[in-house]
């Protein structure tokens, strides 16, 4: 594996020339490993961590194919093949979960994705540095709050005893239950997600905007291009690579509808429209200890997610942009 990199002329002055026969090479590899022993020692704790906490759980995936008995353990539980997957795909719950997850993600992509771009374009027009900084500082603050706290702030407005309902009651109207009304749940989720993240999302676009060559605008002006044409022909193409990259990544994460957020707003009254794969796996697996089915559902999500992210990366690379790996 590392044979090639052994020969990389990496600043080691005493490194002998390559290709002196196989035996020599093996001995050289040994020497190289011995020389790097301190480096390996440094990496060791991290590798041990990864081995235990990310690779060992892979073994646990097998319970998706087993009739898991806690007393018998993972090893001795009998295999049942794809039974749990069969019951997953044939259950009534599954299409609903998948639909909720994808719809919430898609809405968020459709309505939420353009907002930071527009916001960045507007901020870019501002010439008062202080004003620009001030607005930026305010708008990306919510990014650092947890969903618990942010949801608390939202509840302060829309909760059963929140401001909107207090105003409604004071003016003699009926209360409106934002939190238990299936009709508004998805809207609520999308809007709050936008509110929390648009300022933060704009940072990367602003960086891209500042990298556009000013001479392009001069040239466009000479050609008689108006403001909007400049934005259309210079600004947007200038940030196109970063837009494409972020769009692909979001599309790859379509099965991640955001556990933290959904969990804060979810309650049994809105399960029909708001229960996503992650919240279901949590309830089924941890609260009801139905490990096999929950693992199968989780595995489904993981595999699709992996396929999507690899696809996204390939697309980005094909487009000639900088890919993730």
């Amino acid at each position: 594996m590392g044979a090639k990199s052994v020969y990389a002329p990496h600043g080691n002055p005493e490194m002998p020339l390559p290709n002196k026969g196989r035996q020599h090479r093996n001995r050289r590899l040994g020497t190289q490993i011995w020389k790097s022993r301190f480096i390996y020692l440094l990496i060791l704790p991290t590798i041990v961590y990864f081995a235990i906490f990310t690779y060992a759980p892979f073994y646990g995936i097998t319970i998706a194919f087993k009739d898991f008995k806690i007393i018998a353990g993972i090893m001795d539980s009998p295999w049942v093949g794809f039974e749990h997957f069969k019951s997953m795909f044939t259950s009534e719950k599954f299409p609903e979960l998948l639909r909720n997850t994808v719809i919430i993600s898609l809405y968020r992509l459709l309505f939420g994705f353009p907002v930071p771009i527009l916001f960045a374009l507007l901020l870019n027009e501002v010439r008062h540095v202080f004003f620009k900084r001030f607005i930026q500082t305010i708008t990306y603050f919510p990014h650092f709050l947890s969903w618990v706290v942010f949801a608390g702030i939202i509840y302060n407005f829309i909760g059963p005893s929140g401001i909107i309902n207090l105003v409604l009651v004071n003016t003699g109207l009926d209360k409106f239950n934002f939190t238990t009304n299936p009709d508004v749940f998805r809207t609520l989720v999308v809007i709050t997600a936008i509110m929390k993240e648009f300022g933060w999302g704009a940072i990367i676009y602003l960086a891209a905007l500042s990298g556009i060559d000013g001479q392009l605008y001069e040239a466009a002006k000479i050609d008689g291009a108006g403001k909007l044409r400049q934005i259309w022909h210079i600004t947007l193409p200038g940030i196109r690579p970063i837009i494409a990259l972020l769009f692909c990544l979001q599309l790859a994460g379509i099965l991640d509808a955001g556990f933290d957020q959904i969990f804060m707003f979810l309650n049994p009254a809105v399960y029909d429209v708001g229960d996503i794969i992650d919240t279901y796996v949590y309830r089924l697996g941890i609260l009801q200890s139905q490990f096999e089915l929950a693992t199968a559902v989780g595995l489904f999500k993981g595999v699709i997610g992996m396929i999507l992210i690899i696809t996204a990366n390939t697309i980005i690379r094909r487009m000639g942009e900088k890919s993730l790996w």
Binding site: S161, I203, G285
Partner: protein, 321 residues
């Protein structure tokens, strides 16, 4: 302006444009007409207010007497100033204990995160060691595919970490993304710096400690803050892995105060309970508001640092990633 336009009419145009562009120099775009500029400022102010006002409102409510809230909840400044709600939450043992747990997890956790991430990142930045690519992939793969929640739960159960404070720290010692970020930074440090230290007789340990780490302060600060904010806001590790609520960190307790409080009130449609007790100084709304502010203040205190480093960090990740 080297290019000469063909027509004379245009050339005056160009001269004008050139003059204009000279006066604005570094600006990339033309100045907008006043009305367009006003609209832009207006939209931005509205965006700022949408973000700011809900928080200011929570702050005002937390310091106001209960009956004022029912009269006019749309306040941005406390009315009938009182600190009763804060007295209440500072007497709530559960909340203070959770706060202590979260502080412990954030401090100890972030320290361990940095130790494990920095050593691993430094090692992986040495591309000449045999097996380097293999080790790097070992770190990258978990970013693409994880075993999922339940296998993790079973593992933690088997090694006896469930229901312990350490479950909030140990399973998240290294985040692959942060490791790669740091590794790329170390990697970009010129090799010659290390060599010269070695020629001066420095050991490997010495090189790492006296040459690499001092040069890497920005990336260490960025990654450290990533981890610290992660620990501070961490909610789901406790939700998944800690069922004993005396060991809950702050976010879990916050949830039970801020959100389940709502859940309790949800069934009661009548407002009589509110009106009956409105003579009381402290109401659930005050307490919830005060709790939210209590959780925001520590973030607010480190915000200047967060801002400075995170913005740099996000660039670092995108440029050198």
């Amino acid at each position: 302006m080297v290019e000469q336009p063909a027509h004379a009419a245009q050339s005056t145009h160009a001269a004008q444009a050139a003059k204009q562009s000279k006066s604005i120099k570094s600006r990339s775009l033309d100045a907008n007409p006043w009305w367009a500029q006003s609209i832009i400022y207006l939209i931005l102010i509205v965006a700022g207010l949408i973000t700011l006002l809900p928080m200011v409102n929570v702050w005002a409510i937390s310091f106001s007497e209960a009956h004022e809230i029912y009269k006019n909840p749309m306040m941005i400044w406390p009315k009938s100033f009182t600190i009763e709600a804060y007295k209440y939450i500072f007497n709530t043992e559960v909340l203070l204990k959770a706060f202590g747990i979260t502080v412990f997890v954030t401090v100890v956790g972030t320290f361990l995160n940095l130790v494990f991430t920095a050593t691993g990142a430094y090692g992986l930045s040495k591309t000449q060691i045999p097996g380097h690519r293999f080790l790097l992939w070992l770190v990258i793969i978990p970013m693409l595919f994880g075993a999922g929640l339940i296998p993790m739960y079973i593992l933690l159960k088997n090694i006896g970490l469930l229901d312990s404070v350490w479950v909030l720290i140990i399973p998240q010692l290294v985040a692959p993304f942060n490791l790669i970020l740091m590794r790329n930074f170390f990697w970009s440090i010129p090799e010659s710096l290390e060599e010269s230290a070695r020629i001066d007789g420095a050991s490997d340990m010495r090189v790492l400690w006296s040459v690499i780490l001092p040069l890497s302060k920005p990336v260490i600060a960025t990654v450290g803050l990533f981890y610290a904010v992660g620990h501070w806001n961490d909610f789901f590790s406790a939700l998944y892995f800690i069922s004993d609520n005396s060991k809950w960190p702050l976010q879990m307790v916050l949830r039970s105060i801020i959100i389940d409080f709502n859940m309790l009130n949800m069934g009661t449609q009548n407002t009589s309970t509110l009106n009956d007790s409105s003579h009381l100084v402290v109401q659930p709304e005050n307490i919830k508001a005060a709790t939210i502010i209590f959780a925001i203040v520590p973030i607010l205190l480190v915000y200047p640092f967060l801002q400075k480093y995170f913005v740099k960090g996000i660039m670092l990740g995108s440029v050198k990633g």
